[in-house]
Symmetry: C2
Subunit: 390 residues, 2 copies
Amino acid sequence: MPSSPIRKLAPLANEAKRQGVKVYHLNIGQPDLPTPQQGLDALKTITRKTLEYSPSEGYLSFREKLVGYYRKFGINDITQENIIITSGGSEAILFALLACLNPGDEMIMVEPGYANYISFAVTAGIKVVTVTSNIEDGFVLPPMEAFEEAITKHTKAILLCNPNNPTGYVYSPEELQRLKELVLKYDLYLIADEVYREFVYTDEPYVSALTLGIPEHVILVDSVSKRYSECGIRIGMLVTRNRMVHDTVMKYCQARLSPPLLGQIVADASVEGVEEYTKACFEEYKARRDFFIKGLNSIPGVYSPMPHGAFYTVASLPVADAEDFCRWCLTDFRLDNETVMMAPAAGFYRNPDLGRNQVRLAYVLKKEDLQRSLMLIRAALKAYNNRNVF
Amino acid sequence: MPSSPIRKLAPLANEAKRQGVKVYHLNIGQPDLPTPQQGLDALKTITRKTLEYSPSEGYLSFREKLVGYYRKFGINDITQENIIITSGGSEAILFALLACLNPGDEMIMVEPGYANYISFAVTAGIKVVTVTSNIEDGFVLPPMEAFEEAITKHTKAILLCNPNNPTGYVYSPEELQRLKELVLKYDLYLIADEVYREFVYTDEPYVSALTLGIPEHVILVDSVSKRYSECGIRIGMLVTRNRMVHDTVMKYCQARLSPPLLGQIVADASVEGVEEYTKACFEEYKARRDFFIKGLNSIPGVYSPMPHGAFYTVASLPVADAEDFCRWCLTDFRLDNETVMMAPAAGFYRNPDLGRNQVRLAYVLKKEDLQRSLMLIRAALKAYNNRNVF
């Protein structure tokens, strides 16, 4: 079981904080934006006296609201019967893997990829095979030949995160068509993690995997964590029109009894009537992206492509070992008693050497904090590369 | 992946309810007792504006309070560093299995046993080996010879639920000593699910596995679900002094990011100052037990041992196939437009034939509902055994 590249340096950050150092967290997608007020208010008006189990599949009223939500993204043809509420998107991914693949089966994902996918695959006894996207061409979908080379008789699924975490890349309609052909040709499942769909900064229309016309093949993974700044309530969804997959996932859901009740109350109150909130978040993230990526690329030796979605980017740094640099920032580097925490990108690659000089950065902080973080990265790189190593 | 015997008949119950039938739920350990008011109040006073991720191991303040809680049960020698907050006891069990055993390893549990243990073992790729306890002798711990016969070179752990779900049996200090010897002799982990420790109705002192003097071997699984009637908030704990197990569990915790934030706020507010609440719950369950078990045994052909803990019992019924009977109660039997839902016990045995005529019953309803449920069971058995089957 690998350690999370996002959280494994947390003890070092905690130690720095204990020393009174302020740490800017670019390592984790924890937005500083507020939760919608209507979601927070829902907690104040709970009248039930017993906080009892919810249904294993989640509350009906919440799932019905989600049907309307998905319709806004062109996902029609689903009902509440296709939606299962999970304990965060994390659980949805794990259950999708457990339901679609047997131990020993293989799953293909693009690297760099969300590191915890590999953890969930390990949990399910599944072998992860990666096809590599490159920072040089902005992390576009690798060519079909790369996928076909990776496919074996044990391959059962492709896992795609779109918009992508960690790269921020948004797959084009053409790229998704190519994936669709692959899925049909080799009879694969397409597990589509689309938790960042609200954060797409291009003018191209966003295409959900559930609108590709291959409903029996698609398992959609979703979450309210990012779109409503509700990471802590642990409410995700798994959506599929494949009845067998649905029913198998339900067995796992029943074993763990139920998704969080209180989180459902907050999320249920957040689904409708949040257009203004959503628009404001979108504008804010877009402005942060524009500011942050420009700032990054102005630091000598740093390169980041322009991400078109989500709120992450993978940047290359002028260091040989970005993990060592990230550790050093937490243990040694201080500027006015402040430092910065980044996630080494090596953990987002199956072959860590490919991302050795890269970091994943989340631009989830307000602009002045991003500005300060950029200053810290610039100063840290300079100090790190000028330090005496004995 | 097996279906949950506790929840798999839920669609039939839902259909009955849709028809306007009142269903008494003896199938599930969902107490009707209120959550402590201080827990509910904590939700009204949340001032944070962003419902952000909590630490993967749970909030420090909550874990510190739990240290004090465990001390009341003679569990000293632990600190907050030994406690990890999980998404319900369910997740604690899964993570304990994933951390202690490799795929293909074997785990021993007593049957009848909590059915979802088997689901979690399937998830982790672990083989479950059972030793059988019998209704005739009140489900005492099977003899050591039965355990030794079950142990192979692949056996890595014994999973014990004490007080037991589904039987309500409370293992004696002598029985636990025997288990301790076994654990030491074969160098096994002892995964101890003690979520019902507050509900022990004997005068014998309750012995936690963490007080047996084998701290490196013990992983304690715990939950606030039952003791504070907070099933829905999904807050459990894993407690171990084995550092390697702790650190491995933490990798799984980091992959799923964090336990529920809101649940932690409620549970944190419920740990201290609930002595009166706890005493009232205890007295209530004890009275329900006395009433319900006596009532059960007064129904012709029904037998239940007297459970000394938790709020379940496994009873034998005068039917050949209890699952068929349970289904029939939901689909066909009505008395004044009411019926009763029970969990077929076959699913709590590795060999379902052993529990073919048994059900698990939870006495979590108020006395008048239990009384009505007993009446329904009595009438249903009579009607079922007198029906014409074509």
